[in-house]
Symmetry: D4
């Protein structure tokens, strides 16, 4: 095989096995997933195209696919749910990244709520829904273009916020740089930023916080 | 003298004479202003330090100074007021730029209203004051750091908006680049952006719009 | 549907419904437009390819298309015209952006005049036509490469100017960055800049100024 | 006064009052702090120089100062401690930022542990101390230059990690950009990054996570 | 022919003939290789696609191909082996660059050892194999994303280290810039960095060091 | 001495001796100039402060200084004049760079004409003086901010044009980058650009063209 | 037609008509060229693909094509030759840009000499041919990657040098930025730089210098 | 003390103790050096100002200083010399970095030769001295501005080359970026690049190669 699959990490982390499909051939993806599917772990394959999935589905019939999230999941054992993550997104074009975050947090055992299409150019769509912040333990804010949503949300809550800049935009968005810089410079202090388009990383960080909360609870 | 002073432009534009003090010695500033003060035009000198002003005041007793705006004004003839410009700023550190815009619009004959310290991290400070948008014919939004205020204001009004990014911030604000990119990529369409810290330019553009409005009125 | 269409905004703004086609499949575009076409609003779909339009035309026969502007329009109610916007462009390659601005201003009710191909390398083409500035209430300047046209026009008029940098150029134009920076640093004070290639945004801003002028007029 | 002090936020957030001293005169700092000190809230003033403090101390004798953290604190009411934050730093030059994070988390009620000078060029200094990760609920990793410490720590724990790039370095560190990019691109998924040198923001985010953990506990 | 092939250099350097296939047509590659194959030198053609090779193989049956390294080799005379280069890579996606380095060093007469998939997010994979550093005379570290592996290896050995940043990553990796900057700013002093994805250059530099070592030996 | 002074070059090129004072102590400048002044060559010392000159004047009484150009000259032998260079500059702040170019071309034997303060925001200042282009054999265009003057001049003449971007401006001028990019992307083809603020380089290039013209003449 | 063809310029400049084919459809190119071919001027169409040419050839049989230069020429009247331009290039991959410069200078009436493949990594290829500098009146240096050739040539001659950075390279060449910056910062003073890959611009500038030389001659 | 001094590394590496003085107060430097001077190791303190040294000298009379290299050395035990490093520099302004490299290599036991002021604009200064390459086992090339020297040297020898870009230059050198990019993109394959101005790092890498050579020798 091309890669030493790191079962060790999976066990240590309670992580699903994760495969990053971008830059891999359908052939390679199928091979890796078939290898992983021999074991008992759940599997998450991100950045998978519909073509990737078609080939995977032939080989592994229990595989599922979210076209929006570009994510293949193979569920081998039940996921005990705990915690609540609220995912907000600014525009419809940001949905693939928001859903990548959602699917990632979900397969790791976080209950995911969605509040989509609440970009700041129509601030009342957001303000009319701030009651939905209440149940959440962590918020993920996904936004491209000028990325202002993170700052506004940051001003409305003291809960931990994870910001994901997206590459949505053109011209002087420079592939997501504008949103990234905006989020790093947020006047609402205490926002943790991940890489451009990195819904997966946001989901992992959200889960680590949820784990800290619920690990703490159970420990008592 | 070092510069052909362009009286022609001043007359054509109904402009005050404008001097950019940054990079000039006190000596040079005094000399230029004394020369200009011989004529009947109002004078605006931007980016002037308190030391600059002290020297100017000795030579031209009727000169005035706004330390916050870093602006010297010499009023030689009354300014007929028309139109209304509302200037919003995000944080207290943005005030010098906001006031440069205010002083510029003012000396050109715009009535200036101020709504300061309404950064998006405390969105209700802004939302509680949106009634103040009503009278305004043009809005100038001044913000540093992530520059998100422009987008939020843009979503709350259809009036012309001029956005001024400021160099306030550190690290990944890269001297105002973060705010500049945010404003250029605003999801609220139709915001006109000027250079980083260019309160002067924003005031000039606001005035040109006011002039278009009131010129139009008077023409009828 | 994938997006909460914001009819509220449309009504509040006197805006047409606007769809940004880039990054959407033909399927998605058709679906969105068919949904919107049920209502009485005019519709503007920007960045549409000829293929996009072919599919839309089948579903919505009254749809129109400008290949140059890459814009689909669906006119459901008459547009009352007021105001005058003059659009200048530097080179023929800038026309798609200039026309995007033109179509946007037009569908919002601005009378649009065009003065194209007046790049500064042949300055007399521009100078021979400055009489056309007279009637205009707002000017939009569209230019790629070094974007110098905005500064020259800025020196020739005191009317409000909106500058649109385009991505036309290669090498050190860095996708329109050269023109963008030039326009932001214009020595002709008071130019409002929008994002690279953002003809749409320029049209919206022009319309907001026209609205301020004519709203003002009618209010009296 | 120059700024509407936002008591509302302080109360809503359980936050201390926070003042950013950089770019303010000693005069201004003293005035703001004297105003705030009339109330019952704790106060944190970051980026304060020894000179700033000298002036503050005269006016407010109970003020304390950490020269390393460049932080003034004025404690008006006891801080109930809960949670545990472990702060790691790479080099001695990163200490001011690490201590800014520490002082921030501390004044918000987090118990802070320190593991300093464990840069990856001497990896065993870190590996010999991984047992100290056990008690921590959140880790803050502070590093300049190439910022690699965040990735290594990320690989050693599943706990939430906040990464703070610092501007330590020269040449191609470009004022902290190298460390910032490294942290955003960490191969250890799920690291939340704050702005360059933003120890304060890291402290705030750590506290929001601790609050989520302990709020959760107390709610049960 | 299109290029003066520089046999002189080849002889002077003990180099194989080297061809950079990227940007050349299959036609051109075949022609150049057929010309070179008339002489007695070994030949290395980098950045060759499988299609390139198919065409070359028809014309030059003794040509070999490594798909992973994207390298064609034509061995015309035996290569006397001396020295030992250990090549480390962080992730599986970095393998093409690592293998380009390996094939380059190999054809120049270096014995190549590989330690792949030892990225710092699982630091023990590296630490468990540090005994493999012993025999090596030069180390090449290949890593994309945040490029942290170079610093960690640099802290574990005093042997000469060559670092190759790769373009693996997305978003704020900016095509390998993040890894490049990280390696240039390594806190482990004395790492020599080559261009992004330049496995070839790393192999050449490794060989020049090996040559210095063994030349030195033989000279005595 | 710190530097092998390259008399060879001076003789070969008909160059004066040239010293770049920036970054050197007054001590070092005096020493270098005293050494050079022993020979018969003319001497040009650029980027010299008034303090530098004061010290030089004491040691070398025949030294001259242009404060505007920041240039010290020591004339040891007559300069035969040939050719004509016209130097245009946009604003008064660009004069130091324009004068550095002028002094450089002058000491090399070019007759220098000046057309200053003809920035494009007042295009008629330029257009009223185009008859002055007639006699010139080379034009040097010096401009900061958006650097548009080069393009306009380029459209008005077919003579060789050398463009010098200056660092005049602030914010998004990024130290002269805006003007540099504008000049490189000029829609008026055939403009040769030198480094930001490099008046010296422009003077040298102008002289090399003049030399080609007059060398050619004399050869006949 | 899409563009006001500027015959005026052509006549004024003694220029051929020039068409930039990149970004135009074959259809558009054919139409423009057929229109231009009605007149008596020579025509140069740059950045033309073989497909473009195939279509043009059908419509205009006397059209010629250089595949290497990507240039179509249509010669309608004889070109009187004067002057001598020497074009140097570093690597074979730079040839298309070098040939674009050559074809441009040639059609404008410059005699073009070529010295190709003399990159600095094999400095003797250049040094063995410096006698070829003698006849040249202008030198054009074309180089990608690190662009060092311009500096070396600049040190070997006092003749006017035009430097063309190319986008050849990968990774940290950033599309020609490395070569561009190198040429702008050349330690050999007096090099005029044009845009990345702008062989055309270099040819135009070379011709303007040749014209100045020979215009001068003939004037006598 | 502020820092855990890492004696372990010193012993493991045969390294002197190294202190980086930049950003440290004279007080701190003296304290660290006095602490280190208690032990038997040699000490190297880089980036030390004359003022730093004055204070150190009072406390540690055996300390030595090179003003050019900005380096303090304290020699406590004899350094056995082996190997030969040749350091080349382009201009006199690069000397501080070149000397930092020299002093670093020297204190680690490398015999250092210098070939300074051989920038490529006067290529014969370099070519006349290539015989000095013969004895060297490693070459360090130090150059600012366009950094072309590295490529030329790389073409003249097969020995290992370490390139150090310096921040010498202005304008578009962007603090050494131009030289850095040039060196990374060198057409002479196999050059190892260190950070801008990092003479220290170059010295360390040179020493590690020398050590590999001579360790190898002695092992036999
Ligand atoms: N969408 C994603 N963005 C960033 N990293 C990812 C993503 N999906 C997976 N990864 C990471 O990539 C690793 C798998 O990479 P690979 O072995 O190349 O498939 C996982 O362990 C994750 O850490
Ligand atoms: N704060 C400012 N920012 C940008 N431009 C300014 C500012 N103040 C004045 N200017 C411009 O600078 C010109 C005067 O420049 P100067 O002649 O150098 O004093 C004015 O005509 C304005 O166009
Ligand atoms: N993968 C590579 N990366 C960088 N340079 C390379 C690579 N492969 C070959 N080269 C260089 O490219 C030259 C051959 O270029 P060419 O003549 O265009 O095939 C060789 O002499 C090498 O110096
Ligand atoms: N001039 C230099 N450039 C880069 N790194 C240096 C330099 N001098 C010393 N160092 C590094 O800085 C470390 C000492 O840092 P410090 O403990 O802050 O004095 C040394 O171990 C070196 O690795
Ligand atoms: Mg908050
Ligand atoms: Mg709006
Ligand atoms: Mg104007
Ligand atoms: Mg982890
Ligand atoms: Mg090491
Ligand atoms: Mg011209
Ligand atoms: Mg020369
Ligand atoms: Mg070599």
């Amino acid at each position: 095989g091309f890669a030493k699959v790191d079962h060790h990490r999976t066990i240590r982390n309670g992580f699903p096995e994760v495969v990053f499909c971008q830059g891999k051939t359908e052939e390679q993806i199928v091979q890796i997933l078939m290898h992983l599917a021999k074991y008992d772990n759940n599997i998450l394959a991100t950045r998978a195209t519909p073509h990737d999935f078609a080939r995977v589905k032939e080989a592994i019939p229990e595989a599922d696919y979210s076209e929006l999230a570009r994510v293949i999941t193979i569920i081998k054992k039940p996921i005990p749910m705990r915690g609540k993550v609220l995912i907000l997104s600014a525009g419809t074009a940001d949905l693939p990244v928001a859903e990548e975050a959602a699917m990632t947090a979900d397969i790791m055992g976080c209950q995911v709520e969605r509040l989509y299409d609440v970009g700041v150019a129509g601030i009342h769509r957001l303000l009319d829904n701030t009651d939905r912040f209440k149940d959440a333990q962590v918020l993920i804010v996904v936004a491209g273009m000028e990325g202002a949503l993170a700052s506004v949300v940051g001003g409305l809550t003291d809960k931990p916020i994870i910001a994901v800049p997206t590459s949505i935009g053109y011209g002087a968005s420079f592939g997501g740089l504008a949103a990234l810089l905006a989020m790093l410079n947020s006047c609402a202090a205490g926002i943790g930023v991940v890489n451009i388009d990195n819904g997966f990383g946001a989901g992992v960080l959200a889960n680590s916080i949820i784990k800290a909360i619920h690990g703490a609870k159970y420990d008592e």
